[in-house]
């Protein structure tokens, strides 16, 4: 008697996941603890290990397909077992496989506000959407006869442009021939290998730019079309896109910039480092932000426009840029930590972010975020508020800048910080005071002597 493998539920808010790759193929032996497939949620890519032993007899959901949690994705048993119909529900519901603690890569700036807790866990598999949904948006599958489809493929054209005249508007061979005639296909000049490549890759040769006079569409033209073909964004980028668009279009942002004189702090930190200390300039900035947030509750809150929710502690998000996109690990209860504890926690989180081993819970619940581009040589920039927060601080590079002190021009190390605030909660004066409060802390050496 075999076992259904179901799509595991990997977090309170995860409703569906995409299978990224199958690590095991149909017919392959599986031992308990083997990684059988990788899934991608809106938060992370995770490996799923098997609780069962046996042979992977059938895969129901292919790589690239997205299905709701608890839907059967594969069947494990002994060769010869009858493979049950996945839509009939999983026999013997068992606890879902759990992901390993080290996902290969992770994602997403920050979580959306949590929806109210849903009724959970032991509920029966939801099969309202039993058909796996392709993540690549394929248009409604058109009814087409096998002969017509073969002709469409051979000619490397797009059936979507063809009007069907068969029963229930099915496309038949005659429709394709008529389309070829009206679209003047036989006047198209294209090399044989280019047609073959286009046919194989699903490129419509009629949609390619016409070749210059006297020339033909060549393999290189089809290759160019292939390179230019829209690519599905990675799940991670889709999430980033959705969240940032939501934030930027629904949150009225405004920006306040102040210049911080870092000259003394840099000297202090240089000395600290020379004595074996581990604090980086970023640690001072983060600590300043945490201290100030306690005095400015509006910036440690969030609103949906109707109510406001204040966070009693500071859960500090730290934006970390990776090749695949941005992740924002969260130092929870940063407001309750000493500077040394915060330093250690942030170092740990950033390290995990870089090696892709952040857990989903370590990427949610932030109340305010700091984005530091100081190492990227920028004069100034503005950041987009993570959904669920009311502010984000953009930290730019420190530069030698002429400053006026006591009427004298002198060179100082100036760092610009720009606060983005949600104007629904934060007024201009509040934002200005908050930004200047951070500046004051960073310029106050007495403060650091007591904190370090």
């Amino acid at each position: 008697m075999g076992q259904m493998i179901i799509m595991p539920k990997l977090g309170q808010t995860v409703e569906e996941s995409t299978i990224v790759t199958w690590r095991k193929n149909e017919g392959e032996r599986i031992a308990k603890g083997d990684i059988i497939f990788e899934i991608e949620t809106d938060k992370a890519v995770l490996e799923v290990e098997s609780f069962y032993e046996g042979t992977l007899l059938k895969v129901f959901v292919q790589a690239g397909e997205t299905v709701p949690v608890s839907v059967p994705v594969a069947f494990v048993g002994t060769p010869g077992d009858e493979i049950p119909d996945p839509s009939a529900g999983a026999p013997k519901p068992r606890p879902a496989p759990t992901p390993l603690s080290n996902p290969p890569s992770s994602s997403s700036p920050a979580p959306a506000p949590q929806p109210p807790a849903t009724t959970e866990t032991a509920s029966a598999p939801k099969l309202s959407d039993p058909q796996p949904r392709k993540t690549t948006d394929s248009p409604e599958r058109q009814a087409i006869s096998p002969r017509a489809r073969a002709l469409v493929r051979r000619m490397a054209i797009d059936a979507a442009n063809i009007k069907g005249t068969g029963l229930t508007n099915r496309i038949v061979e005659a429709d394709v021939l008529e389309y070829l005639r009206t679209s003047r296909y036989d006047e198209l000049r294209v090399t044989p290998a280019a047609v073959r490549l286009a046919s194989r890759e699903g490129i419509d040769v009629l949609a390619l730019p016409p070749p210059p006079p006297g020339e033909r569409i060549r393999v290189s033209d089809v290759e160019r079309a292939l390179e230019e073909r829209p690519q599905k964004l990675s799940r991670m980028r889709q999430v980033i896109a959705a969240r940032l668009t939501q934030s930027y279009t629904t949150t009225p942002h405004f920006f306040v910039t102040v210049g911080v004189d870092m000259t003394d702090l840099i000297a202090l930190r240089t000395e600290h480092k020379a004595n074996g200390g581990t604090y980086t300039v970023t640690d001072f900035i983060l600590q300043s932000v945490v201290l100030c947030l306690k005095d400015f509750p509006a910036l440690n809150s969030r609103t949906d426009g109707e109510s406001v929710e204040w966070s009693s502690t500071v859960n500090l998000g730290v934006a970390v840029s990776l090749d695949e996109g941005l992740v924002v690990p969260v130092a929870h209860r940063a407001g309750d930590m000493t500077m040394a504890q915060l330093n250690e926690r942030v170092r740990e989180l950033v390290g995990k972010a870089r090696e892709g081993s952040l857990k989903p819970d370590e990427m949610k619940g932030s109340s305010f975020t700091v984005s530091n581009m100081g190492m990227l040589d920028v004069e100034n920039f503005t950041a987009i508020i993570n959904p669920g927060e009311s502010g984000i601080l953009a930290v730019s590079s420190t530069r030698e800048t002429p400053a006026v002190i006591d009427g004298e021009i002198c060179a100082r190390s100036i760092m610009k910080i720009t606060l983005s605030s949600d104007h629904r909660l934060v007024d201009g004066a509040t934002a200005a005071k908050f930004a200047n409060a951070i500046k004051s802390k960073l310029e106050d050496m007495d403060l650091w002597q007591t904190l370090m």
Binding site: T191, P192, A193, A194, R196, L197, V219
Partner: protein, 459 residues
């Protein structure tokens, strides 16, 4: 000061067609040449060597033609060389007439840049050039460990000789070395090739190489020594000697064919700001332009493809780009013809090269031994081979060894440049009985549908 729209340096197979095309398009053109019109190809390369090779082939074949008895021709090498000189002279004067008829001003002398747009010419006035095309070609590389002696010659000096030595050592198993070796062996000389690398003609398809080497060694008696250098070379009045590994070899003449070096020495490239690569070849972009915007370089001197027809194609493209202000890339699909015994034709990628680019390679091969015409004319050595992309059936390369291979490769070049597929070649009717049918059969063979070959096992 004389002023021309286009000045071309070097009247070889790259330079003179460039001059004619530029003149046809209405430009005022000067062509500077220090020696003879036609360059290495016409005077000391392709043409004279092929004249000798044609006779050598015939001489060899006459001894074994079915139905011909007591056919024992005698070789008069001096008469052959005289004939060769006549061929060269005839073609030379043809080129000169063409240049004249097209209004190209031919200038005799050696050119060197004084600035980007100005060239000093020995024995002539300084010339002002709107654009310059450098087509100076290359010369034989003679390694410095070889003593200077009349028994040690390069290919050019060999072609000027009026006698064929009895025992010949050829240093270098490249195209020139192998062609000369086959020619001399077919004429009865005792030939030894010494190649330092692991095999002769290493850039060719391994099966082609193996077939050629086998024929050279067994059928025409050439000694092929590979994998060890020739050293301790000495020459005296009676012979030339050298060591290969622990063997000593001796001959009457040593032909040096180890490679070619660009002929840029007298051009004064530095006065025009023209960059060269580490081997001294002039660096050009895909349009033939050097690092100096008004100066182009074509043919051997740009180091892309050392073949006469590549130079011609580049010369015409560059002339058009200059005069018509176009931007057409120089052709990159260059067929190669190797006049060994048997002949070899190659165009496009080898199986190994295609696989190295990640292509799933499909090949189709057909041996001349399975072809009626080849059997009828007694030319059953060799085969043709297609290299294609399995995914799209697109032709990527073609390789042929056997009689008339250098002519047979032309069809493959057209097919590959036209981006045809194996299927298209298979459907193209090839006239019977001809050797060209082998291409069609090999295309079918790739798909396992050859008529004149047994089905391959495992399909």
């Amino acid at each position: 000061m004389a002023n021309f729209d286009v000045v071309i340096v070097g009247a070889g197979p790259g330079g003179y067609p460039a001059a004619i095309r530029a003149a046809q398009l209405g430009a005022s053109v000067a062509l500077i040449e220090k020696e003879a019109a036609g360059g290495t190809c016409l005077n000391w390369g392709c043409i004279p060597s092929k004249t000798l090779i044609a006779t050598a082939e015939a001489y060899h074949r006459l001894r074994a033609i079915p139905g011909l008895h007591s056919c024992s021709p005698t070789l008069d090498y001096a008469a052959l060389v005289e004939h060769k000189n006549g061929v060269v002279k005839k073609l030379q004067s043809g080129v000169q007439q063409l240049l004249k008829a097209n209004g190209v001003r031919s200038i005799s002398g050696t050119a060197s840049f004084t600035s980007r747009n100005r060239l000093a010419v020995t024995g002539s006035e300084t010339i002002e050039a709107g654009h310059t095309i450098l087509a100076t070609g290359c010369t034989s590389l003679v390694p410095s460990f070889l003593p200077a002696h009349e028994r040690i010659v390069d290919s050019r000096a060999f072609l000027d000789r009026v006698d064929l030595p009895k025992r010949l050592i050829i240093l270098g198993g490249g195209i020139i070395g192998c062609e000369f070796a086959c020619m001399a062996a077919n004429l009865g000389a005792e030939v030894t090739i010494v190649e330092m690398l692991d095999d002769i003609l290493l850039t060719l398809d391994p099966e082609i190489r193996a077939t050629l080497r086998d024929h050279m060694e067994k059928a025409i008696g050439i000694t092929v020594m590979t994998g060890a250098p020739l050293d301790e070379v000495s020459a005296n009045n009676s012979c030339v000697q050298g060591n290969v590994g622990d063997k000593t070899i001796e001959g009457d003449l040593l032909i040096v064919a180890v490679g070619r070096a660009p002929a840029t020495g007298k051009l004064g490239l530095e006065h025009a700001g023209i960059a060269t690569d580490e081997s001294g070849f002039i660096t050009v972009d895909d349009f033939g332009m050097t690092s100096a915007a008004t100066v182009y370089a074509i043919g051997d001197v740009n180091g892309r493809t050392q073949l006469a027809h590549a130079a011609t194609s580049q010369g015409i493209t560059v002339a058009e780009n200059i005069v018509r202000k176009e931007r057409t890339r120089m052709e990159t699909l260059i067929p190669a013809a190797v006049f060994t015994s048997p002949e070899i034709g190659v165009v496009g990628l080898t199986e190994e090269e295609a696989a190295a680019t990640g292509i799933d390679v499909l090949t189709g091969k057909f041996a001349f031994a399975g072809l009626g015409k080849a059997i009828a004319v007694g030319e059953t050595v060799g085969f043709v081979k297609w290299v294609a992309d399995k995914a799209t059936d697109r032709l990527l390369g073609a390789h042929v060894i056997g009689a008339h291979a250098t002519d047979l490769i032309a069809e493959a070049a057209v097919a590959i440049r036209s981006e045809l597929t194996l299927e298209e070649i298979g459907r193209t009717v090839h006239s019977h009985p001809t050797l060209s049918e082998a291409w069609m059969e090999a295309a079918h063979a790739a798909h396992g549908t050859a008529i004149h070959a047994p089905p391959s096992r495992g399909k």
